[in-house]
Symmetry: C2
DNA sequence: GCCGAACCGTAACGTACGGTACGGCCCCGG
DNA sequence: CCGGGGCCGTACCGTACGTTACGGTTCGGC
């Protein structure tokens, strides 16, 4: 059968109607998890199953398009590397930490990660091509690394941070921020994250990271850890 | 219909034959992921489906019993709190970190977490009772906390560690050890963890943890972080 | 040796769901 | 006004799989 067009591109060429259908699928995914059916999507989106199959090929294509559609909705705010000092670096790191905690604790992220994890089994992908897990990883953890690493390197060049491996530094920051939150949420733990709690965690993680990677020769000593 | 006996107890009262069946199911789970069928389990275990249903009630019961069976296989090695010094505490923490990394990177753990995550959707469990996610969480992350917290508190009483909240300290250690490993593996990332790499990560995480929570008034200063 | 219980192997049933076909409606170019 | 393409709604098909039923076999107790 002919491949649907949205199977290959990055999901940019979508009509408004198609976006609405994918939004409906996304909402359904959040509500019902992986066992959403094509019939349910068609009913929720007020479209016919025939249209779904024409647009997205099969159930896999619909799922992939939905994940890519959600991924395309998160956009990056670049950080200016000019006039970087400890205060602005701290603020940036806290911002990253707070944003990341908000993302991984959101219903949408949890639902998407659930379906991607569930489909990442050993023998999936007969064509070996799409792979939801790779998409989620690319737009989650790796996207965060791409955004954060320039900040870390700028901090290094400004003499505020000290590390030999930016990747290792990033992964430490990642661990300090996320800790056990994501796996607990994915496993269904009723973990309540308030805005205040997220803010406090962001501050704590940032302070811990600075304590580990802050330059000892800087204008001031490493901040205390609470 | 009558409830099967193993549905309610902790999985202790299992015959050897039943254990063999669960081991077969476990192997199949690792190989094929969540889409293992009752027929496949019966064939692999050389037993009849009727027996499976008599013993475990339904597919859910078989899955639950399998997860509990695997959980019951990991046993705890208690740590002696006598004669605790920095060296022995460091060794203990490195041991915990190494063990934990080995666990979360094992095929069995990945497969079990996959199925538990996949089944932890919003509306699962009509009876609201079993919940694979809770079982995995209880025997994974929370079991680790129960084992590690006494060590941390012993370190605190020995004047080696300083913290006000043992739970927070544990979660930081957890984050420093696991970082992004588990979510990447669950999402299908081909992350290769060698024994040497695990050992190095355990040392690094332990040093970072001691740098953050080591008592500043101790016999020696906080160790340097590599 | 005989009986019943437990169990194996397999066939059969029912259902849910992915995927397809078809009739009808709307809209747009001619 | 007419024809065709795109889409909706729905009925339909095929299959996979959970679940049940049944005949045959083994085994422990008497």
């Amino acid at each position: 059968m002919l491949q649907a067009s949205v199977d290959i591109d990055t999901g940019e060429a979508l009509t408004e109607r198609q976006k609405a259908v994918l939004d409906a699928a996304l909402r359904l995914l959040v509500e019902e998890g992986d066992q959403l059916t094509m019939t349910a999507v068609a009913r929720r989106a007020s479209c016919s199953k025939e249209t779904l199959y024409k647009w997205f090929g099969d159930r896999d294509g619909l799922l992939t398009a939905t994940v890519q559609w959600q991924a395309s909705k998160v956009r990056v705010v670049p950080v200016d590397r000019k006039g970087l000092d400890l205060a602005s670096l701290t603020a940036s790191l806290e911002r990253f930490a707070s944003d990341w905690l908000k993302v991984i604790s959101s219903d949408t992220s949890i639902a998407l990660n659930r379906v991607a994890v569930g489909r990442a089994g050993p023998i999936r992908r007969k064509d070996g091509k799409d792979d939801l897990g790779a998409i989620v990883l690319e737009n989650g953890r790796f996207a965060l690394a791409r955004r954060l690493k320039p900040v870390l390197e700028a901090g290094q060049q400004a003499g505020i941070l000290e590390f030999s491996d930016a990747e290792a530094a990033f992964r430490t920051f990642f661990g300090l921020v996320a800790r056990d939150v994501q796996i607990r949420l994915l496993l269904g733990d009723r973990l309540k994250l308030t805005d205040a709690g997220i803010g406090g965690d962001a501050v704590r993680a940032t302070q811990q990271f600075l304590a580990l990677y802050g330059a000892k020769t800087g204008p001031q000593g490493p901040p205390r850890v609470g």
